[in-house]
């Protein structure tokens, strides 16, 4: 089971892109990043997405009733220019935010990060429980252990890519959510 995914360009407005391009995107979208870069120079809009990769991504298993989960993994930037993740999507999440965790004493509070997740040129940035993460909210279905979750991330230049991550049971990642009535990720059956 390999969870290292290289980025592939996946325009959110796929229909729009198809209308503009003569050749189909199906084949090149599944090609490895390097091959895609060789066959067609990246358009400015796809640049940041093509530099992105994520190693060992995973998602915490939750029920729809619990409603919230998070995506973790080690993001990497394979280019010489900074890339910035500014948004993300998951098919079963009504809302997705990019979060940081602020710790004061033993209390950890998570909140939406200003300016997204920049990844330095040739650098990495780790999404981990107790730290940065992609927060899934308003889940409309259970995320069951062993399922594969598909996550789409969007970059500052508007380019997007997707990766799949296995869902795993995890007892942690229960930081308080600032400025929201949801309370903790878990045992929030009151909403």
């Amino acid at each position: 089971m390999h969870h290292t995914r290289t980025a592939r360009a996946l325009p959110i407005a796929a229909a729009f892109v198809l209308a503009l391009t003569a050749c189909g995107t199906g084949a090149s979208a599944d090609a490895p990043r390097d091959a895609a870069a060789e066959s067609a120079p990246p358009s400015p809009a796809a640049e940041q997405a093509e530099a992105f990769s994520i190693t060992d991504p995973w998602v915490k298993a939750v029920t729809a009733e619990e409603g919230m989960s998070a995506v973790f993994g080690e993001m990497a930037n394979g280019s010489d220019a900074e890339i910035v993740i500014v948004a993300a999507e998951h098919p079963a999440a009504e809302m997705v935010e990019l979060h940081e965790v602020v710790t004061e004493g033993t209390d950890s509070t998570m909140r939406e990060i200003d300016g997204g997740f920049p990844v330095e040129p040739r650098g990495t940035r780790t999404l981990a429980p107790g730290g940065d993460h992609i927060m899934l909210m308003g889940l409309t279905e259970d995320l069951e252990a062993g399922m594969e979750a598909t996550v789409t991330v969007e970059f500052a230049d508007g380019s997007t890519t997707e990766f799949t991550a296995p869902v795993k049971e995890y007892a942690g990642a229960n930081e308080e959510y600032e400025g929201d009535g949801h309370g903790q990720h878990e045992d929030d059956g009151d909403h």
């Binding site: 089971m1 298993a61 973790f72 296995p166 995890y170």
Partner: protein, 401 residues
């Protein structure tokens, strides 16, 4: 005691004084080894050694036995269907692949504990319940509880379960971390049934390939077929039967309690007569070394056979070469909770337990003086599927035929 202390004193003194001051064999070896092996001081740690998880056969059967083992069993939750089993085995196989490389599992909460693989192997076995859940037609006819033998005193607490995870390593911390990590990923699909832990001599205490001794003091497992031989492959690995098990094997795991306090009442000649082998080296009472053939016909001066009718070695022996098994057992000795409990985790691997194991056990059950001091208190049978590729998972041959 005096001898042990003085020997230790010598070694400590030698180490403190440095190589030049040590007399005798130790200094001699250092001197001759030094020019040829300048990096002798940087011997690789045993904790860094790895055994590949992926391959046509699962590791942990042919693998030279590690010092520590945990056999941990689970029952599937009532609602878990074939798709659930698939997800479970994908997660567990991924955990095993990473941990056996000395890498943390995904979402490992104690990643530092994963960095000492110490020849870690993780071997999966399927009980009949799991195979039925996936495909009732795929259960091999031998995958069922063994017949109950007269001398058994089976406790369901150690009985048949749906899934077995066998974890072996030369380091008990590695075993503990691996069992816990896989247990966490099994939790959404299963209820834990039992865990049985055991040990052999510590790594490095004896030469590799030394036959183990059980806690009764006996050399235990001399008759094993030798891994890597055609004989072993034929006896252990499945060649026929359900296609999903080709390259797999059958595991019989029996918890054999030994009654050490009454065993203590026997003097050495009596102990040797019970087994038919010498305690000193495991050689047959009819002579030779440990691996010499047992001469069942040999008689002593009084005309009686040297190997008694009731001797374990006579009763376990057969002229049918198919009735042989590969044993890879571990001792257990539990004293933390009241009454001491000691014995052997008898783990035997054979292509067909009904054809190979049951006839042997039937003969032992009928007559074997050793029965006075050993009792099977647990028994379970598992189908050990073939190994998997890096893109697959253990059980994919059953789940995605």
């Amino acid at each position: 005691m005096d001898r042990g202390v003085s020997r230790r004193g010598l070694l400590l003194g030698g180490a403190a004084a440095g190589a030049g001051a040590v007399g005798g064999a130790l200094a001699h070896r250092w001197a001759t080894d030094a020019p040829a092996a300048p990096q002798a001081a940087a011997l690789p740690l045993n904790g860094e050694r790895t055994v590949p998880f992926h391959g046509p056969r699962q590791a942990g059967v042919e693998t030279p036995p590690q010092a520590h083992a945990a056999f941990t069993a689970f029952d599937l939750g009532r609602d878990v269907d074939a798709e659930g089993v698939r997800r479970l085995m994908r997660l567990l196989s991924d955990d095993a692949a990473r941990l056996t490389r000395g890498e943390p599992a995904l979402a490992d909460t104690e990643p530092e504990l994963a960095t000492v693989p110490a020849r870690l192997t993780v071997t999966f076995g399927f009980g009949p319940g799991l195979v039925e859940r996936v495909d009732p037609g795929a259960v091999p006819d031998w995958l069922r509880p063994l017949p109950e033998f007269d001398h058994d005193d089976l406790d369901p607490r150690w009985g048949q379960a749906d899934l077995l995870v066998q974890v072996c390593a030369d380091d008990p911390v590695t075993v503990a971390h691996t069992v816990r990590m896989l247990g966490k990923d099994a939790r959404a699909f299963t209820e834990p049934r039992w865990t049985q832990t055991g040990f052999r001599r510590a790594h490095g205490s004896e030469a590799d390939g030394t036959t183990m001794r059980n806690l009764m003091g006996q050399v235990d497992g001399t008759a094993n077929p030798r891994p890597g031989t055609a004989d072993f492959d034929h006896l252990v690995w499945r060649e026929t039967g359900p296609a999903w098990l080709a390259g797999g094997t059958g595991l019989v795991l029996r918890r054999i309690e030994t009654h050490l306090d009454t065993w203590d009442e026997l003097d050495r000649p009596a102990r040797e007569a019970v087994i038919g082998r010498r305690l000193a080296d495991g050689a047959p009472l009819t002579g030779g070394d440990e691996h010499a053939e047992v001469d069942l016909a040999a008689t002593d001066a009084t005309g009686l056979t040297v190997i008694a009718d009731f001797a374990h070695v006579r009763r376990s022996r057969t002229d049918d070469p198919e009735q042989r098994i590969f044993r890879r057992g571990y001792n257990y000795d539990l004293r933390d909770h009241g009454t001491p409990e000691a014995g052997l985790l008898f783990a035997s691997y054979q292509a067909d337990p009904v054809r190979q194991f049951t006839p042997i056990q039937r003969r032992l059950d009928e007559l074997d003086l050793l029965n006075e001091w050993v009792t099977a208190v647990g028994s379970a049978v598992f189908a050990v599927p073939p190994g998997c590729t890096e893109d697959g998972y253990v059980g994919d041959s059953l789940l995605e035929p």
